[in-house]
């Protein structure tokens, strides 16, 4: 495992699913850390999409090819089926039309990997139920009015969406830190995040 992501279990989980020499597109690739690992350790042919200028420079310094674009506008310039894997890590809830982006992912890639923030997590429920206010905690640090997370949903919500779009969830791996058994029993309640692999 690469030291750069030792504290990022979701990224470790994503790497597990990518065989060597795959073609990988990372949507919202930030500074290109994940793609660099996939290229260096897994021989992947990588490409990123990112919106922030500073992140573009960071990707360039790693030699990660990146396109500056807004995911809200879809993946227009990417050809159908041009990637084995299309990754969307912790960005899904920020886009304007998540359903459209999902179908775009399925257009350009064979397999989609989504690192999904689960608002069905017990702490979020607890805060809303007993506090009477929108959850605010370590994994959802923003106020309700300025959060970039404009489309929060639960694991069950995501499953329903995939079903309605005729997208198959081939694997789901709840991400947890301490309570190892519970998320397996009820991921929707006990997993902060969940990595989904989806296919058409």
């Amino acid at each position: 495992m690469d030291a750069k992501i030792v504290n990022r279990p979701a990224l470790i989980e994503i790497c597990k699913h990518i065989p060597e020499n795959s073609r990988v597109l990372d949507l919202g690739c930030a500074d290109g850390t994940l793609l660099e690992i996939l290229r260096e350790n897994y021989g992947a042919k990588v490409h990123g999409i990112e919106i922030e200028q500073q992140n573009i420079s960071k990707c360039i310094s790693k030699g990660i090819p990146v396109i500056q674009a807004d995911l809200n506008e879809g993946l227009g310039s990417f050809k159908d089926n041009s990637f084995d894997f299309v990754i969307l890590s912790e960005t899904f809830q920020m886009v304007r039309n998540p359903d459209y982006l999902l179908s775009e992912m399925m257009r350009v890639g064979r397999t989609g990997i989504i690192n999904f923030i689960n608002i069905g997590y017990w702490l979020d429920r607890f805060q809303l139920f007993f506090g009477g206010r929108m959850p605010k905690n370590k994994h959802l640090p923003h106020e309700w009015y300025n959060t970039p997370n404009i489309h929060l949903g639960t694991i069950k919500d995501f499953q329903d969406l995939c079903k309605s779009l005729d997208i198959k969830i081939t694997q789901q791996q709840p991400i947890f830190s301490a309570l190892k058994m519970l998320p397996k029993v009820s991921p929707n309640l006990f997993a902060k995040k969940c990595v989904f692999l989806i296919e058409k």
Partner: protein, 384 residues
Amino acid sequence: MFRINGENVEMLIVQAQQATFQELPLESGEVLAPATIEYETYGTLNAHKNNAILIIHALTGTAHCAGKHSEEDKKPGWWDTMIGPGKHIDTDKYFVVCSNCLGGCSGTTGPRSINPKTGRRYNLQFPQITIGDQVELQKQLMEHLEIDRWLSVVGGSMGGMNTLDWTVRYPEKVVSAIPIATTWQLSSQSIAFNWVGRKAILSDPAWENGEYEKELPESGLSIARMLAHITYLSDVGMDMKFGRNLQEENKVSKDFSTSFSIESYLNYQGQRFVERFDANCYLYLTRALDYFSLADHGDGDLSKALAKATADFLVVSFSSDWLFTTEQSKQVVEALKNNGKNVTFSEIDSNYGHDAFLLEVEALGTMIREFLKYQHTKLVRGEK
């Protein structure tokens, strides 16, 4: 050396040089014999010859892209903010070459050069040159300087077209390419602007069918420049800088002399331009732009043309550039991607319009610096 903020800063003093080649066969089938190219170099070509960078100027630029010709020089080269010791394109690390493009009027053979066959200026006898011809002359310079390949070819606007042409004409000579604020072919609108600019020159009585000598067609050329200058700025940028300001407060001119600040600014730009540029060159160079299409390298298919490229690309556009738009850059990027090429694209957010490529030094420079560094490291490691 002089001191800024207590640090010794090396002042880059450069001399323009010239090389003359026996002949330059042109795409039109004609041959220029001889062909002279004016160029400047900065930094040192290392023993492995893997640090050479070619800089290509825009429509009316010169070989003087960085430093000064003497300590007393008032203005440095046109991209001095980008190129120099310790700057984004670091002349302590790289050997930078910049030449005046074929058809220009700053030392390189162009319409105002003397035709050796007649002993007089070419003027309209000058053959119509192309972007590809400009690249061919740069290629001869490359051989003259004993450079085997460019670590990077970098150019904005017309220089970006040269850059793109290099990548498919001599793919094996170009390790990486940075086309900036450019296009793979002009849109109808851009051709239209060039047409009106040329018409202004052609209608100037002083132009005299290109045979002007004592009196220059200044009026026509300055109108062409003013028109073009508008296309280099953006609506919002112009409004921010000039708004509806009048030259003198509350003074509305009764005649049609300059009244608004923007009018006065354009006038000034037009006047400065005729001091340094030539009307016939303007005709030839804008025609070269109009006729350029990278797709010609692929039987009219851009994707097929770019399939030949082997370089890594950094393509940069600017959000408010309406002359060579982000959309046009994206078409290049898309064609490269579809060919599985290594391409990075950035659209820099800017209000400066087309001129942004000279002004957005930090955002653009940071990317260029990182890109060059990576390309150089890769080349040194022997991965390319």
